[in-house]
Structures are given as structure tokens and as C-alpha cells.
Amino acid sequence: MEGYLVDIQHEKLSFFTPAGEVKALNDVSIRMKEGEVLGIVGESGSGKSVTAYSLMGLTADNGKILGGEVNFNGHRMDLMTEKEIRRIRGKEISIIFQDPMTSLNPVYTIGNQIEEAVMVHGDKTRAQAKERAKELLTLVGINEPDKRLRQYPHELSGGMRQRVMIAIALACEPKLLIADEPTTALDVTIQAQILELMNDLKNKLKMGIILITHDLGVVASMCDNIAVMYAGEIVEYGTTDDIFYNPQHEYTKGLLKSIPKFQEKEYSKLVPIEGQPVDLLNPPGGCPFAPRCDSCMKICLERKPGSTEFETVAQDSQNRFINGKHYSRCWLQEKKKFELNEGKEVVR
């Protein structure tokens, strides 16, 4: 689709396991412009990583896209062969993973692994690749690049390794960087450094970022838009301000209640979301969050809610790019509509 870097429409994706079909993505749609930072938030198993991986063709072998479209930068990623995708991967779209401890090959030097990323796409010589590798290390804030290039991953600290992973991802100046929980495995102090680095790089390189995390604090500081995922569905989507100041979905509200707020004067208790995530082997027919929802109604257990759009609260005066859409899938909104039209037939 024109104008969009990422345009996922109604994507359905399932994993076929010995235990049965796991419906990991259920009608997921995401649009994202160039240079935008999108946060995808949700608990483990909500499909946030699956969405991003399918965008890169990195879905595990037993996973299949069953419907919808996945567009990236003018390519239909869901229709391409592995060979065609390989030319895009690492060049136009890159990824950094959660655990920098295991994401680097232990038997090759840092230099070797960065140079490989440089040389896979394009026709740089070994010497040029080495120069580029040094440049990249400097860019991600690693000093003494000459020495580091000759070191092995086990000789570096976790934060350092994540920087190396970022350097590898940036090797070909991609248009989109997917960061899959980039700070989860790191110490808190290092987390802040890595986020700061990513913020810097975003401004410097003008690339789009999809930040996948379960930490709302992380998205708040970086993202333009946020998609909240639950059980393979996007239950709420909006600008960062929308999500934080005007959450509409009960799950989003629950998430916000469960993060500590230091600025609040009185002691407020953290409220956990009770219950277990749904079993994606047999997803319920209604709203997936219904069994855990405090405001659950009869209809919630039977049918899936439609999408409701809201006025966005984000102001353009903030001088940053905003998609300007805010929608949510919840029966409570339908109920409001129903009450507005009380007495009349509501057909949707």
C-alpha cells in the first residue's frame, strides 16, 4: 500500500504442533509509516513476536500464514519465496533479539559476524567490510573497535553484546528495525543505556522501529504509536498518549494499573490482572480477554466484539508524526453505542 512502510491486513497465522493447531494470530492489522516507532505490547504468547517475525519471513517451520496480506516496503512478504525474502532480510529490515548472550555465534569473532552482515548484501570487499564494521561499532558506542573486532562474544558483557547485535542489524542501514524485547535480558542500568542508544540511532538514521516488549515503561519513552495485543489479536491501537491517558480496552487498563507509578503521592496498590492467558489451541468464541475481565458481560463470552474508533487525544503541536488513529475492540463500547440508540434496533 502506498505511503506505508508496513501494512499488515487481516493476517491469520497458525502453528501446527503435535497437540493441534495453535491459532497464534487472529486477524491482525498494522499500518506504519516510514520513520515511525511502533510499540507492540502484550504478555508472552500474545503474538507480538509472531507478528514481527512473519514480517521478516522468520516464522518457524510449522507456522503458516492462513489469510490476509503482509506488505513491507512494497513487497508482499507472505507471497515471497525464502530466496527472495533473504535479499530483503538484513538489508531493508533487521532484527535484534531478546537474549544477546545466545544470539551471537560463540565460535566466530565479533568482527567476523559484523563483516558477514555487511558483505551478505552488496559487493564490499573484506577490507571495506572491516572498515564498515569499525564504523558501526563506533556508531553503537563501543570504544576500541579494533580490539573488539578480534574478540569473541563470550569475552564481552551482555550490554556490549546487545550493542554488537544492533551494529549487525544496522549494517545495511535498514528501513525498519525490529527490536524483540531488546532489554529484557539486561541489567536495569544497561537497559536504559540501550534504549538511549536506540533513541539516538532512530533520530540519526531516520529508520522505522517496531519495539516489542511487555514493559509499558519502555514503550512510553520511545514510541509514537502502540498496539496492545492479547491472544493473537490487537485489542487496542492508538498513539502513546491515547493508550496512556485514554485507554479504552479493559486489558489495556489492567496493564496500566499493574505498573508502578513513582510520581503518585499516595500509596496506591499495584493491581495484577487475575487469571491465566487463554489456550490458543482452543480459543474461546467470544472476546479472548472475557474470562479475566472484571466487566465481562454475557455477550463477551459468545461473540467477538467489533472495532470502535475514537477521537485521538494526541496533539500535532507535539511536533511528531502521529498516525492519529485510536481504536479498540471491546463490547463495552458497543454497549455505549447500544445505549445511545436505546430502543432502536442496532445492526452492525
Binding site: 491465566q276 463470552l301 447500544f338 442496532v346
Partner: protein, 348 residues
Amino acid sequence: MDTKKNPLSMQLNVDDFVPATADEKESLVIMRESVGFWKDGFRRFRKNRIAMTAFVVVVVIIILAFIVPVFYPYAYEEQMKGSERLGPMEYSEKEIERMEAGESVFPHFLGTDQNGRDYTIRVLVGARVSMTVGIIASVLILIIGSVYGAVAGYFGGKTDMIMMRIVDVLYTIPDVLIIILLAQVLKFPLQNLSKVPGFGWITALGPNMVSMFLVFALLYWVGMARIVRGQIMVLKQNEYVTAAKALGATNGRIIKKHLITNCIGTLIVTTTLQIPSSIFTESFLSFLGLGVQAPMPSLGSLASNALNGLQTYPEKLFAPAFMIFVIILSFNLLGDGLRDAFDPKMKR
């Protein structure tokens, strides 16, 4: 309104928005029943077709080797004059006479050997001997190896160093040397011992066999000891061991209760895979003439005896050879299946 054809155009009414009760919410949550380690493992094992086939084959062989000989019309040491060197399904002149006289004569499916002994029963009894050796040897190896390995791994440091150097020495001494020498050393003491009531079985097995067990017990446990030591070294780092220590548990209790229990999966699998390996060694030793005492057959000694007449009676080699092959193959496949089922790393 036709609700079935188009559920999205269903009419909503006020009842739909009545809050759902906790029971209604509960009824929606279909949790998979949680399964324990063993149950889960057996479930996966049953699904593995190759392993199940191997299991059935092992059971069939056990019936053939241990139960069928009891009812078989011929005995393994029974020499029939005039029936020497019969081919498969052949009858001697005497037997033909008897058959003409109206007697029924049980056929020699695989013929007879040079002493007029029915070859089928010899192969079956040979399988029994080989399997007995394999299983007893594996149990010996399991006990000695796991205790030794557990002690070395648990105490570590100097104890481990010395114990592992002993393993090195044992590993380096040629096993054939020890077996041959032991067989000679033990010959007379064992013959004397066999006259003592209760030790008559020694004559049946022969001193070679007993020394073979001794050698298994003396030498072949080193592999098992190394595996167990490695496992224990990893396991003892776990917090629950520290916790047990802090609570004042004795070393013996920690090894028995916490460490051995936790590597029991590995032990079962390694032992299952040790059985074919022991049968292998037994057949090799019998081939060298160091195995069981004649007239008792083992698969190895049958095969080795058949070598001389290979050109004229190839089936005398093929029958025990096939039996060895099937036994080792099915035990290996069974062991592989158990490993796939019980190794937590393989869990999906």
C-alpha cells in the same frame, strides 16, 4: 433474522449486556489438563511409531527367547544321532522312517548343527543367553557407574580428580587382556565354587561367562560414570541443592534424593542404550572364544562357529546374525524413543 448465515448482523438486545457471572466465565476457560513428567513422556512415547514398533519387537523376542524354549520339543543340548548337518526343513533318514510309520516329527526349521542339535532352539536359547548377559551387564554398569560418577561429581575437587584418574587408567587398559587373564585366573576357583551347593549355576554359565560379568563390572562402567558425573556437576549448581544443604541434609541424602532422582531419565535412557552395547560386546567376546561355555550357545558363539562352514551352510550364520541385528536394532530404537520422550530438551 437468519442468525446462522450471518452472525455479524445479529441483533443485540439488552440481555446481552448483563454482566456475566463468575461461573459463566469459568465455563469458558478450557484448560488443558496438566500432565506430569512420566505421563507426558509415556504419551509422547506412545505416539512415536518407530519406538512402539521396537518395543513390540523387544517383547516378541523376549517371548521367543524366554518362554518358547520351555515348550519346544527339542532341547538346545540334545544331540540326535543321524540328524547331523541337516538343512532347513530337512529330515534325517530315521525321522523319515518314523514319519512313514505315522509318527509326527517336529520340523527343524533351521536344520541342525554338526552334532545333530536342532538349530532353531539353539538360536532361541542363544538369544536368551545374549539378552541375559546384556541386561545383567547393563544393570551392573548402571549401579557401579552411577554411584561412582555421582560421588566423583558431587564431591568434586581432589576426590573427583583422583577418581577420574582411576577411570583414565581403567579406560586405558586393553579389555581383551583383562578378560583373557581373568578367565584363566578364575577357572579353578570358580570350578571349586561351583561344587558348593547353591553355586551350581556357575558350571552352566561357565567360568568365561562369570569372568565376563566381572569384566563388565570392572571395566565397562567408566562410560556411565563419566556421563553421570557430568550430569551431577551441572545439577549440583542448582539452588535446591544449596537449599537442602542449608537445611542440613547429609551428602548421601542429597545425592540420593536430589541428584540421582533428577538424572533418572538420563539413567534409564543410557541403560537402555547400554543393553545393545553389552550384547554387542558379548557377541564379540563369544566370537573370540571367550564367551559362554559349550554346549550353551550364545548368538556370538553360534555365528563364530558358523563361519567355517559359511560356503556350504550360510543360513547357519545368517540366523544368529539376523537375531543379533534385530535385538540390537530394536533396543537402540527403543532407547532413542525413550530419550525423545523423556529428555526435557526435546519437549515441545
